[in-house]
Amino acid sequence: MEPVGISHFMAVGAIMFVCGVVSMATKRNALGVLMGVELVLNGANVNFVALSSKFLTTAPGRSLGLDGQFIALFVIVLAAAEAAVALAITLNFYNNHSTVDVDRADELKG
């Protein structure tokens, strides 16, 4: 049995990412889409944290320090801000159209 290494974390991140993308591509409910976005972002976060963790690297002296963790924190903050804006838009959309179906939101089409 192989110990838990970097590739395992990356596999989890990839699964989260793909789930998120599929969720964005298939959900018609705007909230579902937003959840998908969160999944994508957090999938990426997992990769950042894993890749910069000093416990997981094999080659000593090649550590990235805390860079990955900080970027992950930034992403979380950004995701929170983005979610707030997106929820506000969704709420407005619901007020105007009495629905949150993203397929109905096609007013900006060419």
């Binding site: 993308v21 964005m24 591509a25 298939t26 959900k27 018609r28 889409v33 993203v102 397929d103 939101a105 096609d106 007013e107 900006l108 089409k109 060419g110």
Partner: protein, 818 residues
């Protein structure tokens, strides 16, 4: 205070005060008091203070030099008392003065007492120096006193005369296109603005110490005259008269410019007297060049003129001199030849041309014979203007300039002046006989009297001419102001509508009688007379004295002068009788006539006193003021040297003016002048006073002559035919040339330009615009085809992003694998 600083200062203040008044009125005129009334007070007080300064200067002059003319050899200093502004030059000046003094006491010592210096150098261009300078002698002081006194009287008078202008005016002589009379704002302040400017210019003309400055102020008085004649500018007659005066004066001034060029080109200076320059050297003025003190003030053609006239020979020497390389050799050679050339009369013509040129300006300004036509028309101006500008001062400026320039006139020039004056005198006097407009009679009388002055100067009567200038200024301004008072009362200029006004307006009537008596030269022969008696006598005596040495010319002048005296007496009393005596001819006018307000008739009384007394000389035995008189004052300014004999006209000989005072000339002259004037007076009395003869019958008998005179010798028609019509014709030709050729050319050019432009327009529209539009169309169609991609389906976009990303990875993988 030294006289050499006191006089320029006092007269300078008198000169500049009206300028200050003018400036203030220009800037603030309409806001000065109610309707600009304050402007009148300002201008009047400016000239009043000027008069105070001028009379102070006169008193200083008398206090320093006494009343009597200089005894020969008594006190011959104060020549060209150039002021020294810098301490270091003072010593040199004193030295020069002593040297000059010594030279004079050794030789001739009749140099006039004159003060001259530069005040300010406006500019120096090579040897051409334009300065503001002064030349003050007894004549200047006398003129200042006269101009400012008369100016003050007339300003006061105008305060009353112009009161109509204090409120809105309806001009009944101007009918507008809609049939209404012109209604305009009053222009009280504007009148006084120009009067102030005029006083400044006139005083500057008299003050001036060089001929260029004279010319500047000469033009300034001309433009003031133009403004004032055209004061009622909306009247066609007034604007025409203003133009006429201005244009006719330009003709004279053209001659003057020629004279100025001749003078400056040959003498290199404009200054009258000798002026000390910044280096302490004396720059010789015109007078001392023409009349060299070293040569006994005899008329000498100056070196400069000789050199200029003999330019061929000068050139020959300058370029072909054998010792050309030696510095100054040619110059000294030329210098040594000058006396020879002068003997050969080189340069004399230049002197004559310069003199005649300067006189041309005087002909225009003083309304002498060929150019006299403007003055009668100038009567369109308000009467105070006629009194000040067109009788007393500005028109006398020509006579003044002839008097000022007298030393530089050759005998031949003087003969020209005498003939011009004689013709003018006779011509204008005859026209005055038939004129019925009261102001025009006075205008022609002015022309005639100016002719008298020119005649006097032309026959060598320097003092006589200028004496008449001063006395005439007083009585003629008085006469004009009286006529203005009459016009003010009757609202008409036509004498046939007046008559019997003496009862209604006694002050005006009696002061005008004094004026008439003064102009005809009334008096008790050899005892006492009005001012004109003395001055006219002096002229007739000088003409008689001249005729004894030149029988041919002289007798013409003498009989003209004597005949003129008779005609003057006739028309002046015709005027007085028609206006003031007899029965009223127009009862409506008579009923409404009234004496003028005090502000108007009080100046008349002042002037009447002067008109009566200004000619007298206090007898020598009277204590304190013995010898006080205009004649003696003028004698103090008499130019040094004899007029001499003609060079080009052999036999032309000018007697000394003092010869005319001798008993055997003076007595017959007085008798001639007095008896002819008496004859004219009696004739007028017979016709218009007691009416023994009916003027209408006489008119019938001499109808052709009457027509000739009432048509003013048809000078206007002649000039119209000779100059105005050809001018119009040439203008017409040029206009049609303009219209056909030049306009045609321009029109064709425009047409071709339009055609070219339309072609250019096509290119622009189809080629340049086409390219731009094509590009736009392409981009538009590209945009249209791309808009299909923008479906608005969110899930589709995500799918596209995913597919794109995957494709990108696959591509990169393949690319890096290789």
């Amino acid at each position: 205070m030294d006289l050499s600083t006191a006089l320029p200062t006092l007269l300078g203040i008198a000169w500049l005060l009206p300028l200050a008044s003018f400036t203030l009125i220009v800037l603030f005129g309409p806001r000065m008091g109610k309707h600009g009334l304050g402007a009148g007070y300002l201008a009047t007080s400016a000239i009043l203070f000027g008069a105070v300064c001028s009379w102070l200067a006169l008193i200083f002059w008398f206090g320093h030099y006494g009343f009597k003319p200089a005894e020969h050899g008594a006190e011959a200093h104060a020549v060209a008392a150039a002021e020294t502004e810098h301490g270091e030059t003072e010593h040199a000046a004193a030295e020069a003065a002593t040297a000059e003094h010594a030279e004079q006491s050794a030789g001739h010592d009749e140099s006039p007492r004159a003060y001259t210096n530069d005040l300010y150098t406006l500019g120096q261009f090579g040897s051409l120096k334009i300065t503001i300078s002064y030349y003050i002698d007894a004549l200047t002081v006398g003129m200042f006193a006269m101009v400012t006194l008369i100016g003050t009287c007339i300003h006061f008078y105008a305060l009353g005369y112009m009161h109509d202008e204090l409120h809105d005016v309806t001009d009944h002589e101007v009918t507008l296109a809609d049939g209404q009379h012109l209604h305009r704002r009053g222009r009280f302040h504007r009148f006084f603005q120009y009067m102030s400017l005029f006083c400044f210019s006139m005083l500057g003309l008299v003050y001036a110490g060089n001929i260029a400055m004279v010319f500047v102020f000469w033009e300034l008085v001309g433009i003031c005259s133009y403004f004032l004649i055209g004061f009622y500018i909306e009247r066609k007659s007034a604007s025409n008269a203003a133009n006429k005066a201005f244009i006719v004066n330009r003709i004279g001034d053209f001659g003057m410019i020629v004279g100025l060029m001749a003078l400056w080109g040959s003498l290199g200076t404009f200054a009258f007297g000798d002026v000390k320059n910044a280096d302490g050297q004396i720059e010789r003025g015109i007078f001392s060049q023409v009349r060299d003190p070293a040569n006994g003030h005899a008329l000498t053609v100056p070196d400069g003129m000789v050199r200029a006239a003999a330019f061929d020979a000068v050139e020959e020497i300058a370029f072909k001199h054998p010792a050309r390389l030696a510095p100054g050799a040619a110059a000294s050679e030329i210098e040594s030849r000058i006396p020879t050339w002068r003997e050969q009369r080189y340069g004399y013509w230049l002197l004559v041309i310069a003199g005649v040129g300067i006189f041309c300006g005087c002909v225009g300004k003083s309304a002498q014979f060929p150019l006299h036509v403007w003055l009668p028309d100038a009567m369109e101006g308000p009467t105070p203007v006629s009194a000040l500008v067109h009788s007393a001062t500005m028109v006398a400026a020509g006579v003044y300039l002839v008097g000022r320039f007298f030393p530089a006139f050759a005998p031949e020039v003087l003969l020209v002046i005498a003939y011009t004056g004689g013709i003018t005198l006779f011509l204008a006097a005859t026209i005055a006989i038939t004129a019925t407009d009261i102001k025009r009679v006075l205008a022609y009388s002015t022309v005639s009297q100016l002719g008298y002055m020119m005649l006097a100067l032309g026959v060598g009567g320097w003092a006589a001419g200028l004496f008449h200038l001063l006395t005439h200024a007083f009585f003629k301004s008085l006469l004009f102001m009286c006529s203005g008072s009459v016009i003010h009362a009757t609202h008409t200029n036509e004498m046939p509508k007046m008559g019997g006004l003496l009862k209604k307006m006694p002050y005006t009537g009696y002061t005008m009688l004094v004026g008439c008596l003064a102009i005809i030269g009334a008096g008790v022969p050899f005892v006492f007379g009005f001012s004109g008696y003395y001055s006219k006598d002096a002229i007739v005596a000088q003409a008689l004295s001249f005729s004894q040495s030149n029988p041919l010319h002289g007798s013409i002048f003498f009989y003209t002068a004597v005949g003129g005296a008779a005609i003057t007496a006739f028309y002046m009393f015709r005027l007085w009788y028609m206006t003031f005596a007899g029965e009223p001819r127009d009862h409506h006018i008579y009923e409404h006539a009234h004496e003028s307000p005090k502000v108007m008739y009080r100046p008349l009384i002042v002037l009447a006193v002067f008109a009566a007394l200004v000619g007298c000389t206090v007898p020598d035995w009277v204590p304190l003021v013995g010898g006080l008189g205009v004649q003696n004052l003028l004698e103090q300014a008499r130019p040094a040297g004899e007029t001499g004999a003609g060079v080009l006209l052999a036999g032309l000989a000018y007697p000394n003016e003092h010869a005319s005072h001798s008993h055997d000339i003076h007595v017959p002259a007085t008798l001639y002048a007095f008896s002819t004037a008496l004859g004219g007076f009696l004739l007028a009395t017979v016709f218009y006073g007691v009416r023994w003869l009916n003027p209408a019958d006489v008119k019938q008998q001499f109808l052709p002559i009457y027509r000739f005179l009432i048509g003013k010798w048809f000078f206007d028609e002649l000039y119209d035919f000779l100059f105005v019509r050809p001018c119009y014709f040439i203008a017409f030709l040029i206009a049609s040339l303009d219209r056909r050729v030049i306009d045609g050319f321009i029109d064709n050019t425009a047409r071709w330009t339009r055609k070219l432009a339309s072609i250019d327009d096509l290119i622009d529209r189809y080629f340049v615009d086409g390219l731009v539009n094509l590009a736009a169309a392409w981009i538009y169609s590209l945009g249209t085809s791309l808009r299909g991609l923008q479906t608005g389906k969110l899930r589709q976009y995500v799918m596209l992003i995913v597919i794109g990303t995957v494709a990108l990875f696959v591509l990169i993988n393949f690319a890096s694998a290789r």
